[in-house]
């Protein structure tokens, strides 16, 4: 079975953990975020009859008090940036994190999940806000941790991208 290290990155409370909670399994408690700043999870998929195990490094969200430790990105095969659709500021944070991530690990397959799509009444983000984050070839998914909408396709897309990498 192929194994790929995937890092989940985003602003604090962007819903990274909630996004994966339904589909992934972790033996570690949430306390790890506040202590070590990362929690390891695992998600298994099958892409074109190829079993793949995504080892998810769910990084503590970036906020005023804590920043993402870039050393955790080392050796990652893919990055999943999570943005909170109800907080415009999280797009900017994600963009900054992406730049830092690129300088740390170089160009690696990336997918963007704009989360909390179920909260349409509180939605703050407009299409042009995302222009700064999503480049031409970066897949973008509007996801809902609550309903599970587009969550699995987002991971599948990222898994495919990592497999196609030479």
């Amino acid at each position: 079975m192929i194994k790929k290290k995937i890092c989940l990155i985003g602003a604090f409370a962007a819903g990274k953990t909630s996004l994966v909670q339904r589909h992934v399994h972790s033996i570690f408690s949430a306390r790890y975020y506040t202590t070590v700043g990362v929690r390891i999870e695992k998600k298994q998929l099958q892409i074109d009859e190829q079993d793949i195990s995504l080892i998810l490094w769910d990084l503590h969200g970036e906020d005023d008090f804590q920043s993402v430790q870039m050393s955790y990105l080392k050796g990652a095969s893919g990055l999943l940036f999570v943005v909170d659709g109800t907080r415009r500021g999280t797009v900017e944070i994600a963009a900054k994190l992406r730049d830092r991530a690129r300088s740390a690990v170089g160009p690696v397959p990336t997918v963007i999940a704009v989360n909390k799509v179920d909260l349409d009444r509180l939605w703050e983000i407009r299409a042009r806000d995302l222009d700064t984050l999503a480049e031409d070839d970066t897949p973008l998914f509007f996801t809902s941790a609550k309903t599970g909408e587009s969550v699995d396709p987002a991971f599948r897309e990222l898994a495919k991208l990592t497999l196609n990498r030479p």
């Binding site: 033996i27 430790q69 080392k74």
Partner: protein, 584 residues
Amino acid sequence: MTDFASKADPAPPPDNLDQWRQLRSLIVGPEREHIEAVQALLDDPVLHAESISTALPDAITLASERSDRLAEALQPSIDGALRASVRRDPAAIADAIFPALGPGIRKAVTAAITRMVQSLNRVLTEGLSLRSLRWRWQAWISHRPYAEIVLLHHLVYRIEQLLLIHRSSGILLAKAATESTEPRDPDQVAGMLTAIQDFVRDAFGTSEGEVMHAFETDAGQAVWIETGPEATLAAVIRGTPPLHLRAQLQKMLEEIHLLFRRKLDTFDGDPSPFRLVQPKLEEALSFEIRDPAPRSRAPAWIAASAGVLAAVTWISMTIGEHRRWNHFLELVRAEPGIVVLEADKRGATWELTGLRDPISRDPAVLLDRAGIPREAVTATWSTYFAADDDLAARRATARLHPPESVALEVVKGTLMLSGSATHDWIARARRDAGSIVGVDAIDFERLEDTQARALEHVRQSLERSVLYFERARGQPSPGQEDAIDTIETLVREAQQLSRHTGVPLRIVIVGHADPTGARDFNHELSNRRALSVLRLLETRGVDTTSVSVSQAALPASSSPSAATELAALRKVTFSVLLGNQSRS
């Protein structure tokens, strides 16, 4: 080239120019094309480089075989390149030499630990308890340092899990675990371990090369982490692991790096090649648990008595051991050809250093005599040659191989030989004895040459031999064949011994006549008789070059004239001259 071209290419007459060119292209066309191709190869840097690249490996091999000049010429460039490379990226060089560096460092560390154990040994020697006595006994019977036994008794551990982790991604490459300790999700554990290492590095600001080596829990569990350039080996250990386990883990990781360097470098998430590591990891799990020694439940007085008994036994054994050792030292010091420079006890073994003459007695024999097991002593001898008379005599015996009939001794550097030996042995002994260490002079006076003695015997026998003649006859009387046979044999033996010993020999056949008759006739008759015996020997095939004839002085006419007395005077006798006599 130019000279050749000018001679081979004279200016052609203008009317035949075309024909001449045609002819020239026919004759030298292919060679010209070839030369042009070679020139193009030399002119084009790319083609030239390509051409050199094919010849370069062989050229370097040849140059290296012939001399060191190439290495010397390249050295400054290689030194410079290496320095530049280290300045630019020290980690790359460190990674490259990592597999080779480990064994060297381990060796140094092992030496340091050995020294530590030795010093610990001294400290522990001071302590005395019932348990220490038992362990001391164990150390004594197993010939191991006491400190090592103490350490062994404290080693109660088990490796429960081994995880081989890709260093940068934290992805699990291979794992092994004992049945009851299978980790819940080794992939996540591997990731988290890597994360924690990163966390420690970031949190405490250590550099990239500095890594966390271990962490421990109150429950007696420890996680030892060995980090290589591309992979990390984590061992979950219960109990107190021995220090050498760290070296074993390091070695295992180095081997994995050596075997899987390429796979590790290009790792892209497929751990299947690393299943080959699995047996190695499982094998490493097989470290045995050492059960702690059961606590004695015997009443205190039994333990105390046993302690006293053990102490008494130990003390008496120690005393006995020392007595035996001192006895051995006395023996070995009294032994000629052995000089003890240092005798000391290290742990359970005695160490002996000194000088030893190769001809001296094997010190192991003295150990046996003193009742000390041979394996309890380590001896280091440097060779020397002792000048003692006794050893010089042993050396002479070994060199000369004297026959049983020869007695050999060395007195104040003089080799004294007595008894008897063959002429050949004596000659060889004269030649060889001078070069024996410890022999300054040689005395052969009391040594008899057996062949010279035999020659003397033959001389005496031959000089006693007589052949008798009838009156006025020149031929020996009949019936003396046995005597003639004996004489022939003696002559032959004398000649043979003379040849062998080199002692010059001359045999004179002396003719005699009785006084009756004319004096001149008798004189001539004496000569004829001697000559007839000479001819007789010649006819029997005897070499007579060393044989001559002579006449005895005629007896006075007033001599007794009884018939028997006269008959006894008609004879031939033999005179044998040896050595210088033979030349006179």
